[in-house]
Symmetry: C2
Subunit: 321 residues, 2 copies
Amino acid sequence: MERTRVIDTDELLSIRAAELYYEENKTQDEIGTLLRLTRWKVGRLLAQAKASGFIRIEIVHPRARRLSVERRLREATGLTDAIVVSSAGVATDEELQSRTAQAAADYLTGLRPVPRTLGISWGRTLHEVALHLKQGWAHGVNVVQINGGVSLNRRAGTAAATAVNIAHKGAGAATLLPSPAILERLETKQAIESDRAVAAVLNLATAASAYLFSAGQADENSALVDSGYLTAPQVAELVRKGAVGDIVGRYIDSNGNIVDPELDGRTVGIQLEQLRQAKMAIAVIAGGSKHAIARAIVGSGLCTVLVTDEDTALAILGDEA
Amino acid sequence: MERTRVIDTDELLSIRAAELYYEENKTQDEIGTLLRLTRWKVGRLLAQAKASGFIRIEIVHPRARRLSVERRLREATGLTDAIVVSSAGVATDEELQSRTAQAAADYLTGLRPVPRTLGISWGRTLHEVALHLKQGWAHGVNVVQINGGVSLNRRAGTAAATAVNIAHKGAGAATLLPSPAILERLETKQAIESDRAVAAVLNLATAASAYLFSAGQADENSALVDSGYLTAPQVAELVRKGAVGDIVGRYIDSNGNIVDPELDGRTVGIQLEQLRQAKMAIAVIAGGSKHAIARAIVGSGLCTVLVTDEDTALAILGDEA
DNA sequence: CGCTCGATTGCTCAGATGAGCAAGATTCCG
DNA sequence: CGGAATCTTGCTCATCTGAGCAATCGAGCG
């Protein structure tokens, strides 16, 4: 049963007018004749219908963006830029991921000035961004990994492939970070970081002119669990301590703070501070399970540009429908 | 993963243009400047986007109708008139029923010439139509029941109440059909029909200037089962014989033919032929479970006017999304 | 190479539309 | 009941937009 509400005569008229205008594309004048109104009244009814939100216009296309949401995001959060892809007519989280990755690729391609050195993380999302980039998207970009790579499981090499792919398509070279993501002992981590080869890459990463990264949710499906760096119970413990997800391998809470300093100490890669101080840090985050981490990242200034889907954007803005 | 398809440069541009036009309401001229196109090109891109169906405009309001679907229905079926309410943003079948009943009430109210005698059936739907009619919707309509009434269960009187309500609000009188819907023995049915009081009502019903009725689906939730005239197994047997639902108490198959002549012989009310020959026969049918019966009714010419919801209308037209 | 045919582009012009304004209607008080 | 304040209405005018047309471009082909 619909909520009982007094419906103003004008409201009904405005709906009739809207039907004739938008469905039958009649002119306001014709509608005026039909409804026995002046054409100005019809124009006003139509304006009223729009203002009351009765007219919903959706752009249904995989490449469609939501400019109004982007603007609101920029204004509400102080992001330099926000790219929000439409969720209209999307069934699966996978499709959302794909659309968002496409949009990130488009954004990178259109970026001016083109970054000389691009620091990237790795993961399913970035891998897909790499796939969507077109050959020749840039003319000589150096790509450098900013956190330790996947290497413990059968998917060894995807992190490297992502970096190489992005660099190759942009007519540049990739510099890989030859290190695990998380080490078991602090001493090992310190040793590896002081190794000349690793230290050089980290220096390069610190000096990157732009960063591109995604984020992982804090649950048993995390890429870090999948890669064998953490176990499901360890992640559960992190969640208990307030973790909402990870960014460049580091788990943060909803305020953007490191959840477990000891674990963080054993994690190889640039520091979150470096992202916070970067001129350009592009986060690419999509899917319903990443609302919390997206919010934490944007809220704590970990990125300057966010590429995401409409639902995540609305979650950040706090407009639950 | 979205279907891989070559996306024409113009297609992408048309999406960008549409975003700026519909979301940011910029003029085509402004968009031209932004996208480095002439304003004519922008106009053409926008037209292309519309034509390709990328722009979806919905009117979101409980009273919204789908004029384009109505037109298609009229053209495809030869109905005199079709009223289709929008399903946009509707969660429940109940809401759909309510909207459709509202629309039927609106249709009746706007009907010219106002019928002198209106023959009606009874049921949940018609009851709701009666509720939605406004006091004074007509100035003197005589209402007559066209089929035997509910009387076996605790809801005794709702059929009568519906008729009285419609008549009362239309400043007229109701004539009730003092008979059960279905009798157990043929002889009893013949006897009751030849009774002067009943015969007089049936004559009046036959001469009605317009009919208003709903339909029931053929399953254990049917009003006839609920009222105790039939049992669930009996209905199951009817379904086995091809029944898709009932109209004025008579079960029909998908071609609009009586399914069980013996049962039909024991059913009191006007004949289906009388509906088929009527100048105006308004069917009010809503909800997912009534697609089949709606199709049968429209397909076999049992109504001249159909009031229904968008999904049912599309089912009749055979456009499954 | 030059020609033809179809597609695309830029344009003119008329029709459609929104902003702003003044006259008229309505409400709200005292 | 009167008069002020507000809202609504009809209108002018400037702008926006779509239809239709001629010029241009480009592919295909002899």
